[in-house]
Amino acid sequence: MLKFVIRRVGQSVLTVFGVLTAAFFLVRLAGDPVVLLLPVEATEADIALMREALGLDEPLIVQYLTYLRNAAIGDLGMSLRQQSPALGLVLERVPATLELALTAFVLGIVMAFGIGITMRLSTSRRLRAAILWVAFIRQAVPVFWFGLLMILLFAVHLRWLPSLGRGGIEHLILPALTLATYELALYLRLFNASLGEEQKQDYVRTAYAKGQTRARVILRHMLPNALLPLITIAGLNLGVLLGGTVVTETVFSWPGVGRLIVQSVSQRDYPVVLAGVLVISLIFVVINLVVDLLYAVIDPRVRLA
């Protein structure tokens, strides 16, 4: 187990390192970083000053090492529009993003769990097929447009819920549902498939042969086995969820990291954009690490692979 933990943590550190490196060379590849980093209206003197301040007269390898050292102590440069460190601006927004992403994540799992069980317990094939078709159709709708439909229905037409911003629980409902239903569609189909897979197993037949009730076979025997794939996919899919958060935040003017990134792009505030991307990647890497380690605890086969 210790060997697995060390290898898995090492992998995560390597990923973060890779992301940092990619970000560094991306900015260099795109042209003169000074021109890129400064606002359009910068003068020649500004450019020369910045070049010196950033140490751009140094060899590339020295610049790269300085950049890595700074990143290691949490210095990702200053925002070009606001006189504060880029990382600080991003970190201020992290709670809002986590609030939205985690709510959607839990909501998606709980709904998938509830609806999935209901589907299996009910003997109506039509109900099951209908639910799966709705899930399939939901997956063909982009997150941002679904969000807009929710705004149109619940905020503009029915006037039940606010459409913009962050505040009480009523502000959270629409964006969280928008994200959660996308996840839900995927989870439901997977959950249903893995339950269907379990149904063919010998132990299920044995349980029925012993005269156990349908509900008991499904809940006590099949459910624990069918949950594992759901957990894996939910963990793997957190990336899609975090990516979806970026878009959803923009639709609902939710003041999270995603919206900050998009706003910073339009203001050409590149240090903030990169800091935002790095922070979300870091969150993602950490979550993935935790999911994998948890998974290894639940299923010993993973460690041996």
Partner: protein, 282 residues
Amino acid sequence: MRVRRSASLYFALAMLFGVAVLVAVVPLLPVYDPYKQDLGASLTPPFEMIGDRLSLFGTDQLGRDILSRLALAGQVSLFIGLATVVLSLFIGVALGLIAGFFRGWPDTLIMGLADLQLSIPRVLILIAVAAIVGSTIPVLVLLLALTSWVAYGRVARAMAMSLREREFVLSAVTQGASATWNIRKHLLPNVMPQMLIVGSFELGQVIVLEASLSYLGLGIQPPLPSWGLMISEGQSYVEFDPWLSLLPGICIFMLVAGVQFLTQAFTSETDAEGEPAPRPTT
């Protein structure tokens, strides 16, 4: 490959027929003009007359004909989607076959790169790069392809690993066939059908990604229309003129659902009850 004459097939064909009419027939109409502004007739609702002619889908905030703009945007989306799928299929198959056939350090290197890419949300890579490099159509295609080759690469690698142990490949190797010959003549034809299935799943994803980027202002740049961009422009008018953002959304849905359901009908991955088989998204 067997086509099931199922409800999903007819649904898919209906959706795709709608999109085909939009992108292929609408540009032939005499009223087709996606750029002409007419501020006097701005925000005309659908099915209303502008002067003596009917405006089928209305006009946008600058008085441009929405039907024409939807058609041009559809051509752009389709082009980007198909070009990306072809390019990423090419990259993915090449890298996947190399990794799976040679194993060793090429495998470690290529799969390491794939794992690195999968460990960052795809939208974020696209946002970061598009923000810094800029987003013209060729750049978008390249970016989307470079972020979506992994899906093909992993499947191609897995298949190559099992194929290279098969007798027909082993016999070619013992007779002195080169690795490139083996990959081209023996592996490639065997992985292609599977790759086309992955490609059709990816097409929907790529189109949604492009629309999302355009919605965020990082994809197609105005005045060129894009469904995502039109939704974002329409969002400010959502209260009184909802059709501005509804119509392009319906177009995205028709194309993506059409592709999804068609793939569903072509692959026999449905279970006994005719339910659509699940697949994880990337």
